[in-house]
């Protein structure tokens, strides 16, 4: 009976190479791999046709797919190499870690940290002693030390014995873990030992492929009762396992299910290249940059190679690592520029490799969740297109709308949104055309990298999109889509990104356009406490920034631009009133009143602002009259004055109303005097403007206007405002109800 301990670094290409060659040499009769034992049933699929890494092993609770965990593998993962070797050699292979069920079963004792945090805490402590070891060897960076000592050893015998000894020494001095994390750690190692005992009973020689840290704990086996005591009473949940496609980008992600490998593309290169690693990498980079029209010649490649190797020698490294190569690329290829390096990072260092899984892999939980939701919401994937009119006030309609909006966020375009919910007014209906195409099933599998349920996946996806979005407009649209899809947890991320984008966006129009959806979100959306605060501060910062930029943005506009800006300002103004923060409202109105009356301002905007400030009570009637008098004085060009009148009388660009003129004889007199005073030769120029303004008023108002102008005494007569207190009292409760005040 022989046991081989192959201690590895997860996702280390050097470890993967060493594991593969060690297995070839040792030819064990059974291979144990660190991973969830529930996955034994699907392990065989790893050798199936159509399976290509990066892929991830996915385990989820059968009755609740939202509780799930992923184990990602790349080509260069030692576990993957061990798995492939065993399947090719026809040797039994088993996963020997704690059951996946334990990981996402509810924690029985009250514990502030989730299971994932326990794992993190253990990881942190484990890593620290390695740092000590690296420092002792003169390295300031643990990853690089491990790379030099282990990963860069391209040939020769594996380092497993030395690594095991080093780990044993480290474990003796490791600082204690938090109690909960330590218990989990002990349970995991007990599970590994139990699996090992069973395997050694059945087979003559067994190879264990596990994290190097665990090797010393497996080397000496305590009595079986010790381990079974540790493992007693762990929760049992029914778990389903399957394979899902993964990407190098997801391997690099630090959060969520990412493996936190910063350079999967580089590792892939290290693993798949057997000679001239440095030269081949630099050629790859050169070809990439050449494709982007950057002049990189073979001479550059030669010089970069020399520099990288000299740097490695200067730093005492056996082989130039990614750090040296990147520095050489920066110094020689790009002339110190960082932008091309970002491209190299995205395309090569991380890479955009997407894995595939065989078609007969078990259903992914996202599909299971989608089926469940379809059943509940009585929707059937049908190839024939059908239209639905959803009433959002009902549970069924609201649920269907949420599902379809979420699927759209995941690029699963089952439903086509036909509109029906106009942004500001908010009717309660949405119209959709549903049309299921077979390729959408593939999209579901692809989308399952984002999460196990539709809601989780959509939220993750929104976060990802928000992180990549560049313009304010993109993010504003995303806010609205997130609201429709009812994903409050993702909303905060979108809003944070929006805040960042707003800071660097110098286009006031963009800032103004971003306000209304946010204000609506705060007012009508389902926003939780913290989000509401964030939302308010976001709206506030947008308004402040808009206020700073607005004076310049309003200057010297032509009619078309002024009309557009008026529309934006009107919506933004409504938004400012909607969020109902007195201080913000004052600041906004202050800015508007500072702008109004400037000579550089288009007449349309000036008139519109004057009216707005009068209506909000910022200026009294006398001030508004004074302003109108100024705007309509002789010194002002007639076309400007005419557009001023248009802005003043047609609020919001609608048909407008003459009521103000009817009620305020002074204003009417001003307008009348001005029109009478327009010289005959310029009158035809302003006529179209005036006709557009006055022609839109309702007929009775126009008639009344004419009557008063013909008879000045009628104009002077005050409007009848006699109030009947008895009748008014009858209406009061209704008004109070409508306005929401007691």
């Amino acid at each position: 009976m022989t046991t081989y301990y192959l201690g590895i670094r997860h996702h280390g290409p050097g470890s993967a190479r060493a594991v593969a060659s060690a297995l070839d040499r040792l030819r064990p009769e059974c291979v144990l791999i660190e991973g969830p034992p529930e996955a034994d049933a699907v392990a065989g699929l790893a050798a199936a046709e159509g399976m290509a890494p990066p892929v991830a092993l996915l385990a989820y609770a059968t009755d609740d797919p939202s509780r799930a965990a992923f184990w990602p593998f790349a080509e260069f993962s030692p576990e993957w190499q061990a798995l492939r070797w065993a399947l090719a050699a026809g040797v039994p292979v088993r996963f020997c870690d704690l059951r996946a069920a334990v990981q996402f079963a509810p924690v029985l004792e009250p514990d502030p940290d989730g299971p994932e945090d326990l794992e993190r805490a253990a990881e942190a402590v484990r890593f620290d002693p390695l740092t000590e070891l690296a420092r002792a060897a003169g390295y300031d960076d643990t990853e690089r030390w491990w790379e030099d000592m282990v990963e860069h050893r391209l040939h020769g015998p594996g380092p497993f014995e030395e690594v095991g000894e080093a780990m044993a020494a480290l474990r003796e001095q490791a600082p204690p873990l938090p109690a909960a994390a330590q218990r989990r750690e002990d349970q995991r190692e007990a599970a590994m030992r139990t699996a090992l005992r069973r395997a050694t009973r059945e087979y003559g020689s067994v190879a264990v492929v596990c994290g190097a840290w665990h090797v010393p704990a497996l080397a000496t086996l305590p009595p079986a009762s010790h381990d079974s005591a540790l493992l007693r009473g762990l929760p049992r949940t029914k778990v389903t396992c399957t394979w899902v496609p993964w990407t190098h980008g997801r391997l690099a992600a630090r959060s969520g299910y990412g493996a936190g490998i910063t350079s999967p593309g580089w590792y892939h290169h290290l693993f798949t290249t057997h000679d001239h690693v440095v030269e081949r990498w630099l050629v790859k980079v050169a070809r990439l940059l050449r494709a982007e029209d950057l002049p990189v010649s073979s001479a550059h490649v030669i010089e970069a190679t020399r520099l990288a190797e000299t740097l490695a020698a200067l730093r005492g490294r056996p082989l130039a690592g990614l750090t040296e190569l990147t520095e050489a690329v920066r110094a020689v290829y790009t002339g110190g520029a960082d932008a091309p390096l970002a491209l190299v990072r995205e395309r090569l260092v991380v890479g955009d490799l997407l894995g595939t899984v065989p078609a007969d892999a078990p259903t992914v939980p996202l599909q299971a969740d989608l089926d469940r939701l379809c059943g509940r919401l009585r929707l059937k994937p049908e190839v024939e297109a059908r239209e639905y009119d959803l009433d959002l006030r009902t549970d069924l309609g609201g649920g269907r709308s949420r599902l379809l909006h979420r699927l759209r966020l995941l690029d699963i375009d089952w439903g086509e949104y036909l509109g029906g919910r106009s942004g500001a007014k908010g009717t309660f209906h949405e119209r959709w055309r549903l049309d299921w195409r077979p390729d959408l099933a593939v999209r579901v599998v692809e989308a399952s990298v984002w999460g196990p349920t539709v809601a989780d996946a959509a939220a993750t996806r929104v976060r990802e999109v928000a992180a990549r979005a560049e313009t304010l407009a993109d993010l504003t649209a995303l806010v609205e889509r997130t609201l429709w899809a009812d994903l409050p947890s993702a909303l905060a991320t979108v809003m944070t990104a929006l805040q960042a984008a707003a800071a660097v966006d110098s286009d006031v129009a963009d800032l103004l356009a971003a306000l209304p959806p946010l204000a609506r979100a705060g007012r009508y959306g389902d926003v939780r406490g913290t989000d509401a605060e964030l939302l308010a501060s976001l709206v506030e910062s947008l308004v402040v920034r808009a206020c700073v930029g607005l004076p310049a943005a309003c200057a010297h506009l032509d009619t078309e631009a002024a009309t557009r800006l008026r529309g934006l300002l009107a919506e933004a103004h409504a938004a400012v009133l909607l969020v109902d923060l007195p201080e913000l409202r004052d600041r906004w109105l202050d800015t508007l009143s500072r702008i109004a009356g400037r000579d550089s301002l288009h007449g349309l905007l000036d008139g519109w602002l004057t009216r707005l400030l009068r209506d909000t009570g910022r200026w009294d009637a006398a001030e508004a009259e004074r302003r109108m008098g100024l705007a309509l004085s002789v010194g002002v060009p007639p076309d400007r004055a005419a557009s001023w009148i248009e802005g003043f009388l047609r609020q919001g660009g609608g048909q407008g109303s003459a009521l103000l003129l009817l009620h305020d004889p002074v204003l009417l007199g001003l307008v009348d005097r001005w029109i009478s005073g327009v010289p005959a030769d310029t009158f035809p120029d302003v006529l179209p403007l005036l006709r557009r303004t006055f022609g839109g008023f309702p007929d009775p108002e126009r008639r009344e206007l004419g009557r008063r102008l013909r008879d000045p005494r009628a104009a002077a007569r005050p409007v009848d405002v006699a109030l009947d207190p008895r009748r008014a009292a009858l209406v009061r409760p209704v008004v109070a109800l409508v306005r929401g005040v007691p």
């Binding site: 520099l307 740097l311 520095e327 050489a328 110094a331 110190g336 805040q499 930029g549």
Partner: protein, 365 residues
């Protein structure tokens, strides 16, 4: 090594004179192989630049405060016999680093071509002593070698400052030197071949790239190292404090109580605007067009100290540094003003301890 005795009263000694003892100690204890023509090994050069202590306890003062990797790339470049181009915004210690590299590697930092819009080709190749030329005809004696030519014949490092200020046709004279490692003298029918150890360090201003962009033929012969602005606020505060103290004593400003608080403020403002992000990482900002380098921060603080000493009550107050900051930030009257006002309203105003500063700036805009 340049052993010329230092004249008393010299305003600024060369690096190899000022640090002669350190260089001698490094050379004495350096066991590692030295590239041909080098006085020190690449490891010792790195130690000389970044500071440290020798095995025998001799301390080596740090000359450049910053990323070790950058210095390593620069030294490795010179060791592979490639010309080195140091890029960076003004005030990032490009010339400083180039001088010390030359001093450590060749023991001579004086082979210097200062690039200007009027730099002639003679400054890079060679000129003639016309009296001799007329009297004796072309000969070696009539030839006046440029610093580059002298560096080639002695196997030393030549320095070219502000490379991009030099007219393009003159820049291109360097191509032959860098690729052939020889300088032909057609008038004499001979050439000056470079001795091993010869190399060129050039510096150029990032923002001046457009002035006389290097031809791609020339650019290809350089490895580029970009010197960044200081990485952490503490590092930058330390640099500013040290330089301000030196400047104040050489300008003979009256002694002032510590201006650390204002220095910190100036550095914070500059860093935040430069990075387009507040130090707490919560608010993004527009970046103004000015460089806002450490060197500018130093001059703003010195100016504030001068104001406080001569016109104020001797204590550096927010109002003393405010005009300098505004002048440094608002270079473009439209876009910079917008960025500055946004910064004032969105960031400065919200900071409780910054109320005086906010008022001081607000009055100026």
């Amino acid at each position: 090594m340049n052993t010329d005795a230092l004249l008393p009263g010299t305003l600024r000694p060369h690096a190899e004179q000022e640090y002669a003892t350190e260089l001698a100690a490094l050379a004495a204890t350096d066991p590692r192989p030295r590239p041909p023509g080098w006085r020190l090994s690449p490891w010792a050069v790195t130690t000389y630049i970044l500071g440290g202590a020798l095995p025998d306890g001799t301390p080596i003062a740090p000359k450049y405060v910053g990323d070790r990797r950058l210095v390593e790339v620069a030294v490795a470049t010179l060791a592979t016999d490639r010309a080195l181009l140091l890029l960076g915004v003004p005030g990032t210690a490009k010339s400083w680093l180039s001088e010390h590299l030359a001093a450590a590697i060749s023991g001579d930092s004086t082979l210097l071509v200062q690039g200007t819009a009027g730099t002639p080709e003679e400054a890079i190749r060679y000129g003639w002593n016309y009296a001799r030329l007329l009297a004796d005809g072309p000969s070696r004696h009539a030839l006046v070698p440029s610093p580059i030519m002298r560096a080639m014949s002695t196997g030393a490092l030549a320095r070219v400052e502000e490379l991009t200020r030099i007219p393009s046709d003159v820049q291109d004279a360097l191509i032959t030197v860098l690729s052939e490692k020889a300088l032909p003298v057609p008038e004499l029918g001979e050439e000056v071949a470079a001795v091993r150890g010869f190399n060129v360090i050039a510096t150029a201003n990032d923002r001046d790239r457009g002035v006389n962009e290097l031809s791609s033929a020339l650019r290809r012969r350089f490895n580029t190292v970009v010197l960044p602005v200081p990485e952490t606020a503490e590092q930058e505060v330390a640099i500013v404090t040290r330089r301000v103290a030196q400047l104040a004593s050489s300008l003979e400003l009256p002694e002032l109580p510590s201006a650390l608080e204002e220095i910190r403020r100036v550095v914070t403002v500059f860093r935040e605007l430069r990075a387009g992000l507040t130090e707490d990482g919560r608010t993004k900002l527009k970046t103004p067009s000015g460089t806002l380098s450490t060197a500018e921060a130093i001059s703003v603080v010195t100016q504030g100290m001068a104001l406080a000493a001569h016109f104020g009550d001797g204590v550096v107050r927010p109002a003393d540094v405010a005009p300098g900051i505004v002048a440094a930030v608002v270079r473009d009257p439209v876009s910079d003003r917008l960025a500055w006002q946004e910064y004032l309203e969105a960031v400065v105003r919200e900071r409780d301890a910054w109320a005086d500063f906010y008022r001081g700036c607000r009055d100026l805009v």
